[in-house]
């Protein structure tokens, strides 16, 4: 295939997945919110409100602050979305059905999610406003605490695959999914995903106690872009969780990509439910928890995976 055509198709595919996925996140969020708040789920509103809200946000003018870092502020949502897209390219939707079957796919995924730190920090820093600034520095503390266990459990899934390619990781789960073989893996991965995507209980950077933190000074299109970037990131994280722990496209009867979509949807629902069912953690306590509980547990996960392969 002509490399340009390949690039164009890749781009279209990733854009499609992220747009649909981001919409699904918004719909699920409203449905879960209704269920938790004790009313019957208003599905019509759940499907319609994300579009209405986006339209209203677009109608609103963007704001700026006194002497912001305009370039950094513009770059932050673009970088967030681009990193989510890059994280997604290495994940196959079916056998051979991926954008970039890179031999070191897990490394690229890790690099993309690690750089989210830069995007969030930039978003908070650029406003030159106190509460976004505090949110920016908070995110770094969260990210540094979750990233090591997050990547460790992913490395654990590479052990039986003898490869860092995500396709090989999926294939290695033919007999048994990693969620059963490495039971500590998926829970730790999900905690890490909440942290990386500044979502739910680990949303300390855009939190209510900071008047929405890095989002406090943002309105109009930039706000929409930031929120859609976050949703894209959740999609990428859920897709990787499905591939690395739930056997990706593996499954009977149905075509592989349906299995992959379904499993990603399940993990997205879990992440969204986490936001409505778990209270925000305290930053300092969480940092200690990350270093003294999550990292040792993640190491146990890796070594248990190793011992079982001897």
């Amino acid at each position: 295939m002509n490399p340009w055509t390949h690039a164009a198709i890749s781009l279209a595919a990733v854009a499609g997945v992220l747009l649909v996925g981001g919409y699904v996140v918004a719909v699920l969020d409203r449905a879960v919110s209704d269920a938790v708040s004790g009313v019957a789920v208003r599905w019509r509103a759940a499907f319609g409100d994300p579009v209405r809200e986006a339209a209203l946000t677009l109608l609103s003018q963007r704001t700026t602050t006194e002497r912001p870092d305009a370039e950094g502020w513009a770059l932050a949502p673009a970088l967030l979305t681009a990193l989510a897209a890059s994280a997604l390219v290495v994940i196959p939707a079916g056998p051979g059905l991926d954008v970039a079957d890179i031999p070191a796919g897990l490394v690229l995924f890790g690099a993309a999610t690690a750089l989210v730190t830069i995007a969030v920090f930039l978003h908070g820093w650029s406003a030159n406003s106190p509460f976004p600034l505090v949110g920016a520095y908070r995110f770094i503390a969260v990210a540094l605490s979750v990233e090591i266990p997050f990547f460790l459990v992913l490395i654990g899934t590479a052990l039986p695959a003898e490869s860092l390619a995500v396709g090989d990781v999926v294939r290695s789960q033919t007999g048994m999914w990693n969620v059963l073989r490495q039971p500590l893996g998926l829970p730790i991965y999900l905690v890490g995903a909440l942290g990386v995507a500044f979502w739910g209980p680990l949303n300390l950077s855009d939190a209510e106690d900071l008047a929405l933190g890095t989002l406090a000074e943002v309105s109009g299109l930039p706000r929409l872009l930031w929120q859609s970037g976050q949703a894209s990131l959740l999609v990428a994280l859920a897709a990787m969780g499905a591939a690395a722990f739930l056997g990706g496209w593996l499954g009977p009867w149905l075509p592989g990509w349906i299995w992959m979509t379904g499993k990603t949807g399940v993990l997205l629902a879990v992440l969204v439910a986490g936001r409505h069912l778990l209270a925000r953690v305290r930053l300092e306590r969480f940092v200690v928890f990350g270093w003294t509980v999550l990292i040792p547990l993640a190491l146990v996960d890796v070594f248990v995976a190793g011992i079982s392969l001897l």
């Binding site: 879960v32 919110s33 209704d34 269920a35 938790v36 708040s37 004790g38 509103a45 319609g48 409100d49 579009v51 209405r52 809200e53 339209a55 209203l56 946000t57 677009l58 109608l59 609103s60 003018q61 963007r62 704001t63 006194e66 002497r67 106190p130 505090v134 520095y137 908070r138 739910g200 209980p201 949303n203 300390l204 939190a207 209510e208 106690d209 900071l210 008047a211 929405l212 989002l215 406090a216 000074e217 943002v218 309105s219 109009g220 706000r223 936001r275 409505h276 069912l277 778990l278 209270a279 925000r280 953690v281 305290r282 930053l283 300092e284 306590r285």
Partner: protein, 426 residues
């Protein structure tokens, strides 16, 4: 049809983002507004199109309200529900404002205003404050800061923060912020000046209301009457339970559980003498969210000695079992005994208030026709009613002492858990 009209048509049916500016004592009104599915209360004016102001306009609140108004992005509009107060001072500042008087529902008014705003039938409101730079352009240095380098002069508008020492021996900058009176989740009208170094509150000064002598800081009509006349104990106890459950609903939102907060707030509006099992179920379910453990446990511990200076549930959560009801023969006949806890942290205060809500509902069920005896003094949801209900000066120094040295999030958790009541009466 242009893009703008398409967007406007799409945008109309969704929930309207509203930033609420509320005067002291209106916190529970805020929680009620959160229940309304037609609007969406947002935590920053940047993401709102309509500002809903509630309460009488005092000079202490008009200017901050104008500041917040100007921070909203266009298109924007304001709706003010001044209660029974005169509106002259409002209309002088906000000439195009919509005024809501009881019994009209402010939310209806917000929706109508929003619709006309989005359709372009109503112009977006201009700034209220004058368009003046905080520091004028001086024409020297790359940003006109009037000096060379990052620290010379005043960089475009404002000075740079000053350095200050810290216990770890580092000398780094301090952000001196005046937070409030409309900061989300702080009590309505609450204002404080905070010195933030990193994310630690180094110093805090809570601004007192200019006038002492506030008639009543409790919104519930029963609680407003109870000091002067005899009321039904069942009604009084239900009002107390409502106060605590609504307060907890607000706390859930603060801790990131907006949907659960809505459920709890709805529970508060439908309380009856038979609601004890419902609240009890809540009491059992809520701990699974972590809001009573990892979010609040060990935060803002009030020692027993300090609690002697406090009143109501705040004191009882630290083991000081003072309660006027314990000396009231009517309550004694109902089998009332004060309940308390020992830990004294934010988690304990919330558990205490939910437990007291359950106790109150039980009392309401047993009370039948019993009435309060005027002259004995009444224990309100925040402590004795009738005697000064405003949080006393001592309480404020306790709050200040508690939150100094805390991480910002913990400091807010502490303030939210203390149920301080209005610092400023509108």
């Amino acid at each position: 049809m242009g893009l703008r009209e398409t967007l406007a048509r799409l945008a109309l049916d969704g929930p309207v983002p509203v930033f609420v500016v509320a005067g002291g004592g209106l916190d529970h009104e805020l929680v009620r507004l959160k229940l309304d599915p037609r609007i969406r209360l947002v935590s920053t004016p940047r993401s709102a199109n309509v500002m809903l102001a509630m309460g009488a306009p005092t000079s202490r609140l008009l200017r901050p309200a104008a500041r917040v108004h100007d921070q909203m992005s266009h298109p924007r509009a304001t709706v003010w529900a001044p209660g029974s107060a005169s509106i002259d001072r409002i209309t002088r500042l906000f000439p195009e404002i919509g005024i809501v008087r009881a019994p009209d529902d402010p939310v209806d008014h917000v929706l109508a205003t929003h619709e006309r705003l989005i359709h372009g039938e109503r112009p977006s409101e201009p700034d209220v404050l004058p368009n003046e730079e905080p520091n004028p352009w001086r024409g020297v240095g790359p940003y006109g800061q009037g000096g060379k380098g990052m620290t010379g002069g005043v960089p475009y508008g404002r000075p740079l923060p000053q350095r200050s020492g810290d216990r770890d021996g580092l000398e780094l900058d301090v952000l001196d912020l005046r937070v409030g009176p409309f900061f989300p989740h702080l009590p309505a009208g609450f204002e404080m000046t905070v010195k933030l170094q990193g994310d630690i509150v180094q110093e805090v000064r809570i601004h007192r209301p200019p006038r002492a002598g506030i008639r009543s800081d409790l919104h519930d009509p029963v609680l407003q009457r109870v000091a002067a006349e005899s009321v039904c104990i069942a009604e009084l106890e239900l009002a107390r339970a409502r106060h605590h459950v609504l307060g907890f609903a607000g706390a859930l939102h603060f801790h990131g559980l907006q949907a659960l907060g809505r459920r709890v707030a709805r529970m508060a509006t439908t309380l009856s003498p038979d609601s004890a099992p419902t609240i009890l179920r809540l009491r059992r379910l809520v701990p699974t969210t972590g809001v009573l453990s990892w979010s609040t446990k060990g935060v803002g511990v009030v020692s027993r000695a300090l609690a002697e200076e406090l009143r109501g549930p705040n004191a009882r959560a630290s083991g000081v079992l003072r309660d006027l009801r314990a000396h009231d023969p009517t309550y004694q006949a109902l089998g009332f005994e004060p309940i308390g806890r020992e830990e004294g942290d934010a988690a304990a205060r919330w558990k205490q208030r939910i437990d007291e809500a359950i106790q109150s509902v039980e009392l309401a069920r047993r009370a039948e026709g019993a009435r309060t005896t005027p002259g004995l003094g009444v224990e309100g949801p925040r402590g004795p009613i009738g005697s000064p209900t405003l949080t006393s000066r001592d309480d404020l120094s306790i709050v200040t002492g508690l939150i100094e040295g805390m991480e910002w999030g913990d400091a807010l958790t502490t303030i939210v858990s203390l149920d301080l009541g209005p610092m400023v009466q509108l």
